[in-house]
Amino acid sequence: MVAFTINGKRATADADPSTPLLWVVREHLKLTGTKYGCGAGLCGACTVHIDGKAARACQTALEQVEGKAVTTIEGLSPDSSHPLQKAWVAEQVPQCGYCQSGQIMKAAELLAANGNPSRADIVSHMNGNICRCGTYNRIVAAIQRASKEG
């Protein structure tokens, strides 16, 4: 039994310790905002925060989060009020939407560390997150908007 906190609440998971955190979060804990895209660390759709740092849930074994704080898109803000979420709506970023939880979580890590990221900062931070609908330029615009309107 692995114990950790998720979105501020205590959680335990009765799964094999080697189970990818992704399936624990999505299917055991039913927080389905975190998405399965590649299962191989190649797309970023599964991005969550572990103790405030972005991590790929598909590449993180359950046992690695023992005692740690996991945050998913559902826990980023209680009411979609995080500056990035507001900027994402203002820039009308999502298309199919499937990659966007991962994009927002990855961007939140950047904004926490860099209050005024340049386009180059954004591209180098975000380049591991695929958006097959091609919303990249809007993601850049939304991150810049959030950094200004924060």
């Binding site: 389905t32 998405k35 895209g37 191989a40 190649l42 994402w88 591209v123 695929i130």
Partner: protein, 734 residues
Amino acid sequence: MRDQENIGSAVTGVSRRGFMLGTAGLTFAVSVGGWMTARSAEVAAASGRMEATAWVTVGVDNSITIMQPAAEMGQGVMTSLPMIVAEELDADWSKVSVAFAPPNHKVYGNPGFGGFLVTVASRSTTGYWDTLRMAGAQARRVLLDAVAHKWDVPVAELTTGPSVVMHRKSGRKISYGEIARFASPPKELPKLTEADLKKPSEFRIIGQDIPRVDIPAKVNGSASFGMDVQVPGMLYASILRAPAEGNAPAKVDDAGALKVNGVRQVVKLPYGVAVLGDTVEATRTGRDALEVGWSAAKDAVFNSEKAVADYVAKARDVSQKGVAFHAEGDAPAANAAAARRVVREYFADYTYHAQMEPMNATAWVKDDVVEVWAGSQTQSFSALAAAKAAGVKPGQVRFHMQYLGGGFGRRAQVEYVVDAVLLSKAVGKPVKVIWSREDDVQFGKLRPMTAHRIEAGLDADGRLVGWHHRVVGESVLAYTSPDRLKKAKGKDTLTMAGAEVGYGIPNSLAEHIVDGGAARLAAWRAIGAGYTKFAIEAFIDDLAREVGKDAIALRLELLEKLPRARKVIEEVVAMSDYRRKRDGTALGFAYAEVVHSYAAAVAEVSVDRGTGKIRVHNFWNAVDPGIAVQPQNIVAQAESNIVYGLGQCLKERITLDGGVIQQSNFHDYEVMRMADVPEIHTKVISTDNRPTGIGEFALPLTGGAVSNAVMALTGKRLSHMPFTPERVQVALKA
């Protein structure tokens, strides 16, 4: 459990309870004309809502719910289609909620696609345009008639404003919500004509940049995709599918799989072996432990790289006749008699959809009804396939539409629905099937590989008199819908899409030499136009060079009779400052008419001569989509198209060996990433024409624009998509 009602509430803010009240006891008993049986006023009062028509429900709280029949996969139909209804209803948009329509194709089918519930080929807005305008106007008239009756005034004296009916003479006003308190739907729909509809100049919703209704749920994780469906008591399933098409499991050793903690059962399917269990991880571990021997139904020897030379040879061998896809005049004769002939060859590799959400579906086969939860581009064909797999009547299938994590044509195929239904039937429980990304690539349904040979005939004055475009490649329709191919007399509207040259050439022939492959195929965003327009636009540039004309001037001359086409060309030339010479970069142009939208583009590229890597810096495009229903969404779709299109012309490539796809995930099937994306500049030119497709209009421009830009920069023609660094290096040395 998440289901269609939930989606409605997540998206629109209607509480689940409110929505359920509105639909509880609602039967879409449909008579001619899509009308439901009238409900009594008491029922309406009890539910707090009145169904003005099958498309529109008005709440006593002034809320309006509009049914939305198409699949939402990011293209924005969930907003743009209801906008059309709301316009003619004269609704206050801020009060509108949107719900997925029930899968009743008799009421909600797309007139642009044989009346079925199918979302493909950018045909939603254009296909539903008349139906939805009429639906909105009829609902408005139902409200007007109710007020006319109540106030005892002629209906002609009444007008509407946003969600209110007004009687100018007496100065009275009443909101739609108040009308819903006493109105009941008439037995028959009001008979209206085109003349009862608004003129484009009267539009106040259409043409506005209305925020998309699905976006709020897509920034907080609450939007429900097929992948997110959870049904109490369900089992998960992972399937080991036969490596090559047509193979079946012959010998199955499942002892190892059954030992895995959490695995419940192993089920043999006609095309694979499924491991079912309590968790995703158990079924995946179990699947890896299966030992299966496959029977080969047919010899799978196809090697796509070796086939390239063969395809090219077939394109060259003009004695081998193909299917005439598009013919005007007599192109071979005109070319034979021409003063001069120009011939060029082009090639495009197989591509994979790479939609972000791998295939998945959940099904529950019960005694009398089959429930299916999936994100699909077609409610109709999903329900038919589910019924067939379960051995029930289509009417016994309840299809619960989910958001699609990308479609691009892939989700018009429904084999993942069949997986879930067969397995639920076998185990008597709800089953959720999840394909891995590796499954999704390996069992992808591809855009066919194609070879192109274009021969043009010129008269003594250098005028184009003949055009003969030969395309060698598989028939997508023969694979996906043989009946449709038969009806079309062998003309493959998918593989050959865009091959009609469209430049007003007196003699033209687009010929399909059906050949090759053992690939599974499907429509892929923009279908054939991704490669046919690449070949055509690269050729037009080469031709201009041959005859010593300016490539833009030549196109404008050929398109003399199409002012809408000329307009988008002139626009994009101006936007990109096309005539200005750049330092270290060059521009390339392309034009295409795709799903009746006119579009033109200019790409600005540089090439790293050492590595062969192409960088696209800017991409300008202009489009005339008829009436631009939601201009900002068209801009977003242009961006999406261009990024997707640049992927197929710079990176994306599937190869087959022994009939088996050689790629497996995003490391060896590379798609565009943020660092690869150019600045994109889009101009939407709204004209008073029926709205046309916007989901794929710009994609066909990418190959031609980039190839023409590299030609302008280096003098070398890139003729084989994708233009990988290796191919660029070879071309530069040539």
